[in-house]
Symmetry: C2
Subunit: 206 residues, 2 copies
DNA sequence: CCTTCAGGTTAACGACCGCTAACCTCCCTG
DNA sequence: CAGGGAGGTTAGCGGTCGTTAACCTGAAGG
């Protein structure tokens, strides 16, 4: 894993602050002057880095969806490679499912503003960008559905897809946990979410 | 139960359409002219019924929160009255929890736009309205937490609160189930969500 | 040393939006 | 039948917002 030690570029800085502001007050609720102020430059200076306000949102959403999908594919491939000796497909699927859940939880806990934007501001995109994001999201969902149905063969495809969407709703609830009296540490929260997700899937699978 | 057969008033009509539009494109993304057009009158005509755009959102959010809380209190009281003979508190708590889940699912399935607004546009309210909504939400959560801890005594209060928020995230995922390939009927969806919620709680409770 | 260019600045334009003002038109009622 | 209020209409004001234009500056490169 290539951990970055260099300073974030101005572009990345802008994207980070824009994501935070969009998540807090909504896309239309944030002005470009505010975004500029958040990174120390003023309003129209942003246009040296982005074509417009829409372009920032597009890059954020495409980036999120792509990152989620790429991570999931990697986890799937890792598990395949690791267990190429053992013939027990069911047990391998269980491991993959746990890995997918863990990855999604990491994302939901570390990038709450992005997780918020992800299912809130999709309709503010240009048609082409929105189609791109939707396609990435669909691939991500279908990857989960495949793994879930391997672990719970009794589950039909529509039910599995509904179950996956619902578990996403469960995992993406992390922004609501912030306000007042959450669990002590990040680890405990992650573990609780993981157990609940597995419990929900188990209950869905007959 | 007093089922209404009379036609909805203009006010209610406006609130319904406003809720739908706000949920689709966000509070700031909808103009008053659009809301007016959706009910057949034009722009400023709305001001005969509401003090302003903010007032519509406020009435919607306060109404939702109040309705959820009132329904939950009623279900709690009903269960207390119904089981005043049997001394088995644990079994009664189970029944109450099932009833709470059922009520929340009904709401999430029947009023998807409202459920969407409920956790998306809260920050667009005036301070006093926002405090009111937050208080109602908090009471609703605490009512759930009490019941959940009765069913799963091993669960600490912070964990129970987190679990409740997460299950809300699961149940409120219904807007995402609409797009393409959902389950056949409303009943099947409700049943699946119910099972998953119970499974999630069970997995949370050690 | 001159040029170039990345990355800023402020001023200002045009569009849009929430809201008010002024006016109109039924319908109900004494 | 007078009149008054409920519920509309259109015109327009004031403010905000995204975007562009024009200009400035400091550092790199030949």
């Amino acid at each position: 894993m290539a951990t970055r030690t260099d300073a974030p570029t101005r572009r990345e800085q802008i994207l980070r602050e824009a994501a935070r502001l969009f998540a807090e007050r909504g896309f239309h609720g944030v002005g470009v002057d505010e975004i500029g102020a958040a990174v120390g430059i003023s309003g129209p200076g942003l246009y040296r880095h982005f074509a417009g306000k829409d372009a920032m949102l597009a890059e954020l959403l495409v980036g999120i969806s792509g990152q989620l999908l790429t991570g999931a594919k990697r986890r799937l491939a890792d598990a395949e490679a690791e267990a190429d000796g053992g013939a027990d497909g069911g047990a391998r699927a269980e491991v993959v499912l746990d890995s997918l859940i863990e990855g999604h939880i990491d994302f939901a806990l570390d990038d709450r503003p992005l997780i918020t934007l992800h299912d809130r501001e999709l309709d503010r995109l240009r048609d082409s960008d929105r189609k791109m994001v939707r396609q990435l999201q669909r691939q991500y969902v279908e990857l989960w559905v495949g793994v879930v149905r391997e672990v719970y063969p009794g589950l039909g495809e529509p039910a599995a897809r509904s179950a996956v969407h619902s578990v996403f709703g469960l995992l993406n609830s992390t922004p609501h946990l912030g306000r007042g009296g959450a669990l002590p540490g990040r680890g405990a929260t992650a573990e609780l979410l993981h157990r609940m997700a597995r419990g929900a899937f188990a209950a869905a699978g007959v």
